[in-house]
Amino acid sequence: MRGNLGTARLRSALGLAALAVGLAVLVAACGGGGGTTAAPETTAPETTAPETTAPETTAPETVPTETVAAGGMIQQPGICGDPSTQGQPATGEPIKIGAMATKVPGIDFTWITKMTGAYFDCVNENGGIHGRPIEYIAEEEQIDPQQIAALATKLIEQDQVLGIAGSTSIIECSVNKDYYAKMNFYPIIAGVSLDCFRSPNFSAVNMGPYYSDLGAAQALVRMGAKGTIVVVSPNQPGYDAIQAGVVEFAEQNGLKGKALLEDVPFSDPAGLAQRLVQEAGPGGGVILDMTGPTVVPLLQAIEQQGLVDAVLWGASTPPNDPSVAQALSSAWNGKFNINAEFNVLDSTAPDQVLANAIDAKYVPDVPISAFQQMGFLAGKAATEALLRIEGDITVESVNAAFKALTNVTSDIWCKPWYYDSTVGANVSNNTDLTVAPLDGNMVQKEDCFDIAVLPDNFLGEIRAKESELGLNVGG
C-alpha cells in the first residue's frame, strides 16, 4: 500500500513538474524572459543593428510642397488647434488620420495613440482644421509582420487615411518603410527600432532607447565616472544594438564599456545590484535601460545594500516617471541620473499643463508619462502641419505638410522639432536633458545637451544639415 502510494506520489510529482514547466511557459508568455504583463517595457527593442552604411542622402521628393504655408507656429503654447477658432466645434467632412501601435502582453504602446487621439479630440472641440474635424483611426498590432503590412494597406487603401500620426511599433518601421515610400506617406511617429530613425519616410518625436542610453552615458562621464560603464537592458532581441552606442562612447572616452542583458522582471534584484557594482568597479557607472516599475525594486535593493554611492547610477528615459520618484527614498536624491527625452512631467510650462489637462479630460486611463508626452507631441506636430495647408486637404498635401514641418516648438522638447533632415536619417529630437529624483519628485539636474556624435549614429551629418537649413532654430 505504502509503495503504491509512494509511486503514485512520484507520478503526481512528475505530472506537477510538467505543469510547472507549463507555468514557466506562461511566465515567458507574460514576459518573464523579457518584459512583464505588469511592467511593459517602454524601451522596446531595436529590431535591427545600427546601419554601418550611409543612408540615402536625400529623401524622395515626390510630394508637392507648394500648398504648404511657411512661417512660424500657428498653434500657440498651451492651446490645441487654431487660436482663432477656440471653443468652436468642428463640423463637416472628417479628415482621416491613421496610426498603429503595438499591444502584446508586456508591451503596450497604445497609450501613445490614445493620447494622439485625445489631442485631436481637443482640436475638434476648438475649430478643427479650418473647421473640419479630424477622424483618428488607431489600430493595434501584435508584432506580426503580415498583420502590420495588412494594417498599413487597410489604413491607406481601405480607410483612405490622408496621413499617419502617432504610430509606435516594435517592427512597423522595418516592415512598412518601403510601402510608405511607394505610397508617398510620411508618418509622424514615436520611434522604436533603428529603422524608424534611419528611413526618410519616418520622423519620430522621440529619440528612442539607443540615443537615450547614449545621453545617460554622457551624463555619467561628465559626473566623473571612471573605469567601466555598464549598460543593462532587458534580455530581448535587438537590445545588443541599442547598447552599442554606450560601449562605443565609453571607449571613446578612455573607459571600458560593458553591455549586459537581464531577464525582467528581476527575480533577485539584490543579487543583480551586487553584480552591477562588481562589473562597474569602484567609481564606475551603471545605466539601467529599463522601465520605471522594473527599476524600482532594483534601486531599493541597491539602497538596502548600501550601494547607492558605490558607482554612478543612470538610466534611459522611461524611469522619468513621477511614480518612480515617489517610490524612492531620499537616499536617491540627485543620485539616479535619468536621461529625459522630454521635459519633466510635472513641469508648469504651458504645453505640459495642456497635455495633462487633455489626458485628464479625454484619456484618464493613460498615466502621465513619457508615452503621454510622445502622443501629445505627435498630435501637436500633425495638427500644426494640417493647419499650415493652404488649399485642398488631400493625401498629397497632408504628407507634403508633414514632411515640410520645421521649427515646431513645444516646452516638452529641448529644441524645436522638424520632420526631414534631408540626410535620410531623421533624429530630429537629438538634444535632451538629465533629471533625477528629489524628495518624491523628478527634477531637472542638467540643462539640455546634445546627444554625442559617434561614427555610426549619423548625428554629425544631421546637425550639419540642421545648421545649414535652419531646421530647428525657431522658438
Binding site: A20, L23, V27, C30, T36, E262, S267, T291, Q304, D321
Partner: protein, 292 residues
C-alpha cells in the same frame, strides 16, 4: 573568479531569498498534504496582499503594522475563500486538475491586480529593511535575517502542529486517505479549511517579505511560486524539512551564480534544474527512497 567577500554577500542574499522560497514551499506542501491541491496561485495571493498593504499605507496613512497584518490576513482570507468555494467541487479530481484550477485563479488575480494597480511603480519598505549590520564586507538587514530564520521557525511549527495537534493529525490522515478519514468521523471540510487558512497566512507573510527582498511587482511575485514549487517537488510534496533545505539551496545557488559573469544569465534555471535532477534521481532509485 569572484573574491570570498563578494561570494559572502551573495550567500547572505541567497539565504534570505531561499528562506522565503522554502517557507512558500512548506506552505504548498502542507496544503497539498491536507487537500491534494498544489496551489499555483500562491505567489499571486502574496502579491495581492502586499499591494493592498501598499495602498493602505499610501492612501490611508494607517499604522504600518496594521497594514502588514492586513497583508497576512488577506493572504489567509483569499486562500480560505478559494478553498471553501472550489475545494469541495474539486475534491474528487486528480491533483493535476486541482493544480490547473489554481492556475485559473492565478490568472484572475493577476488580471485584477493589473486592472487595479496598473503599471506604476510601487514599493514597500519594511522597518526591518532600514536596520542594517555590517559584518566584514557584508551588509545584512533584519529583513534578510527574518527571511532566513522565520521560515525555519514556520517549518518547525508546522512539523510540531502536524504531529501533536488533533487538527494536524487529521491533516496527516487526510493525506493518506480522504474517504477513510471521513468515515472515521473527522470533519474533513473544517480540517481542510484550517489547511487553506494556515497556508494562506504563510503565503501572506511570504508576499510581504518578498515584496522587500525582491520588489513589489505583481508579475515577479506571482511567478516566484516557481522556485517554491521546485522546493516542494524536491521534498516530494511530503517532507517539510527537505522542502526547507531545497528552498535554501535554490536560493543560495541562484544567488551565488550571479557572481559568475559566464553563468549569471542562467541562474534563474536553478529551480528547474534542481527539481528535474532530483525527480529523475528518485525515479531511477525508488528503492532508496522507499517508493518501491
Amino acid at each position: 573568479m569572484p573574491s570570498l567577500s563578494v561570494l559572502a554577500s551573495f550567500l547572505v542574499l541567497g539565504l534570505a531569498l531561499g528562506g522565503v522560497f522554502a517557507m512558500s514551499g512548506v506552505g504548498l506542501v502542507v496544503l497539498y498534504e491536507a487537500t491534494g491541491v498544489l496551489n499555483l496561485a500562491y505567489g499571486a495571493i502574496g502579491a495581492l496582499g502586499a499591494l493592498v498593504s501598499w495602498s493602505l499605507l499610501d492612501r490611508t496613512g494607517i499604522p504600518e503594522p496594521v497594514a502588514y497584518l492586513v497583508c497576512l490576513a488577506l493572504g489567509g482570507a483569499a486562500t480560505l475563500a478559494y478553498g471553501v468555494v472550489f475545494g469541495p467541487w474539486l475534491a474528487a479530481r486528480t491533483p493535476l486538475v486541482k493544480a490547473t484550477a489554481s492556475l485559473g485563479f492565478l490568472l484572475i488575480l493577476l488580471g485584477t491586480m493589473q486592472w487595479v494597480w496598473g503599471r506604476n511603480a510601487h514599493s514597500i519598505t519594511l522597518p526591518t529593511s532600514r536596520w542594517n549590520y555590517q559584518i566584514g564586507s557584508v551588509r545584512v538587514s533584519w529583513t534578510q535575517i527574518i527571511g532566513f530564520t522565520f521560515p525555519i521557525l514556520v517549518t518547525a511549527g508546522m512539523a510540531v502542529f502536524l504531529r501533536v495537534t488533533k487538527v494536524g493529525t487529521a491533516m496527516r490522515a487526510l493525506a493518506n486517505d480522504r474517504e477513510i478519514t471521513a468515515t472515521l468521523g473527522v470533519p474533513v471540510r473544517r480540517v481542510e479549511a484550517a489547511a487553506w487558512l494556515g497556508s494562506g497566512l504563510v503565503c501572506g507573510a511570504a508576499g510581504l517579505l518578498l515584496s522587500n527582498l525582491v520588489g513589489l511587482d505583481m508579475a515577479t511575485l506571482t511567478f516566484l511560486v516557481i522556485p517554491a514549487l521546485a522546493a516542494a517537488l524536491v521534498g516530494q510534496l511530503r517532507s517539510l524539512w527537505v522542502t526547507l533545505a531545497a528552498g535554501l539551496v535554490i536560493g543560495v545557488i541562484q544567488s551565488c551564480l550571479t557572481a559568475f559573469s559566464s553563468l549569471a544569465e542562467y541562474r534563474t534555471l536553478t529551480p528547474f534544474v534542481l527539481a528535474i535532477v532530483v525527480l529523475l534521481w528518485f525515479a531511477r532509485r525508488p528503492q532508496l527512497v522507499g517508493l518501491k
